[in-house]
Symmetry: C2
Subunit: 336 residues, 2 copies
DNA sequence: CATTGTTTTGTAAGCCCTTACAATTTTAGA
DNA sequence: TCTAAAATTGTAAGGGCTTACAAAACAATG
């Protein structure tokens, strides 16, 4: 069943059918009804490839992330997918893992699929790393980066201020008398660096010294985080608060502390289910995906329609207080 | 840059270029090299739509699930995406939520994209529900269902024996002297029914009575599960073990019990991070996605190559023991 | 060297749409 | 009723690829 069949059965030309199919102007109501009836009756569906050939687009956007099995990316993908489908776009999903060359290859493959836009979720590298593939890609297609940064023409970045969030957490812990704050982190993605820098800058602005031993890199795993913290405790390295670049790591730290029957303030990151489920529940920084993702899709649509969009947007993060740490009262009033 | 340009620059015809592009037989090594060089040099990429028009396929498979933000689906999508990309297929992702009409519509849209196959993750309804859309779809394209069931020609089901797993858990709890086993469950998807039936059948085969009050339906939320269990405790409804259709619910139950300072065996389902992170960590049933998903992709490839595949495969689930429940010793030996 | 069989290459016909432009019909105004 | 303008419809030219089939080049055989 092709457009020719429909045209024939309704006694019009293919051009008319095509116009109707494309929300066509310049078609009389009478013929529209007639053709629509035939289409309905025959169950005709336009061939997406032929249409793509003609229009050079089949309304698809590519989503590139590190790993959808991870709650953070899963949440982003989920929101983006919803928004995009609502706006009539299909979603091509690529999970690349953390190897730069895989990311590059995936981006390339996405472009070969002639998507209308690409959204990277937290997958840009730091400035000093080679981001030339992003620069190249952005020449072919609008490129969006959520929680990452790449300042090339054609690239639109939307991020939450992770650096600032961590700094504030340090400041708040300091205000509550904490002087030796442990920081657990895993991969040094762009976002990973942001947070680590936030930690460092936070210490500095409180006048606290940088102590190598208190910034600990671990695998992204509950057990490795637990092991690391446990070892610190065994070695007698003192600390009086814990922050982590990920709820999972915070949960690991919590397990180690519990085993030693120590209670300290703990602040996680990403405000995931894990933070809720932990006992006691973990205070955590919300990365604002609920805001960032729909906003990004909004920019995307605007850009595809030929409009303009700010090439960099940063919103501040939000601390979600649970049992492992609460803001002091004066701070709260300030926020209200 | 089209195939015509490449042909011209290498002094051959487009047919030859096309042959080379398609892993062509019947091309002399000399011309192959020549053409490949031009392609490389010019950075030519075939137009995917034109190719699709000719071949009626651009090597895409559609993935349909309820919600990627949920760890269970996220894991499945992650594994499937990986396998499929490895085999050269692109992945079109649809998250439908739980409304049947949305699932139908998404399936329809997927078919319009002329995917080569569709994989549903846990999204079939129970037999008595209207599954005619699946029947229709299966006529157009190979359809795979992971952890769901629909016995129509063209539909391939791959599942883990959730019913059996729950039954066994009941039996094991019974063996350890538990007589009033609470079962928490949420949505009655196909898989939800499987587990609920497993609970009922498990009780029966142990000679335990079915007690309406012990099969509690809750929202898929930590807090609702906690609330429900807390209320039971307040009302004085006695139970001596907890099972849940989802780790999240088990974690909620655990919180309620902890608040009342009660310790009972708890068995979750899905073997997610939440089970690991809970304190004490939750024993949980692994749904075997690690096996099911690659296996499904294997069948898919075989089918697309014109081969045959069993239209129903069931593997047994696996209990992952953690702190909230351990199998008795004799049982363990049995398993070894 | 002629003949037949194999490889390699080219020509041209699809595949199914969109859309510029031409042709026709309708409407409005005089 | 006639003419000009507007609305509607049709014709035909792409869009870039695959592939059946025809043609040409090459190899092997007697």
């Amino acid at each position: 069943m092709t457009i020719y069949d429909v045209a024939e059965k309704s006694g019009v030309s293919i051009a008319t059918v095509s116009r109707i199919l494309n929300g066509g102007k310049n078609v009389s109501e009478k013929t529209r009804q007639k053709v629509l009836a035939v289409i309905e009756e025959e169950g005709y569906t336009p061939n997406i490839f032929a249409r793509g050939l003609g229009l050079d687009s089949i309304q698809m956007v590519g989503l590139l992330c590190t790993d959808v099995a991870d709650a953070y990316y899963a949440k982003a993908v989920s929101i983006l997918e919803n928004e995009l489908h609502q706006k009539g776009f299909d979603v091509l999903l690529y999970c690349t893992g953390n190897r730069p060359e895989d990311k590059k290859k995936s981006l390339q493959m996405l472009l070969e699929k002639r998507v209308d836009a690409v959204i990277l979720i937290g997958s840009a590298f730091r400035e000093e790393t080679d981001n030339s593939h992003l620069e190249q890609a952005a020449k072919q297609v609008p490129l969006f980066i959520i929680n990452g940064l790449a300042e090339f023409p054609g690239v639109t970045c939307v991020a939450c201020d992770e650096h600032g969030a961590v700094m504030q957490n340090v400041a708040e812990l300091y205000k509550q008398g904490r002087r030796r704050i442990l920081y657990l982190y895993d991969a040094l993605t762009y976002s990973g660096f942001q947070k680590l820098d936030g930690y460092r800058d936070g210490l500095q602005s409180c006048g606290l010294p940088w102590d190598e031993a208190l910034a600990v890199r671990v695998e992204k795993s509950l057990w490795d985080a637990k092991r690391a913290v446990f070892e610190l405790l065994e070695e007698g390295i003192a600390f009086d608060a814990v922050m982590a670049s990920e709820d999972l790591l915070a949960a690991g730290a919590q397990k180690a502390l519990q085993q030693k029957e120590i209670t300290l303030p703990i602040i996680g990151f990403n405000n995931s289910l894990i933070a809720e489920c932990a006992t006691p529940s973990l205070t955590s920084v919300d990365n604002m995906l609920d805001t960032l993702c729909p906003y990004t899709v909004g920019l995307l649509l605007r850009l595809l329609k030929g409009g303009e969009a700010p090439n960099k947007t940063v919103v501040s993060a939000k601390l979600v207080e649970r049992e492992t740490f609460q803001l002091s009262e004066d701070k709260k009033e300030e926020t209200t």
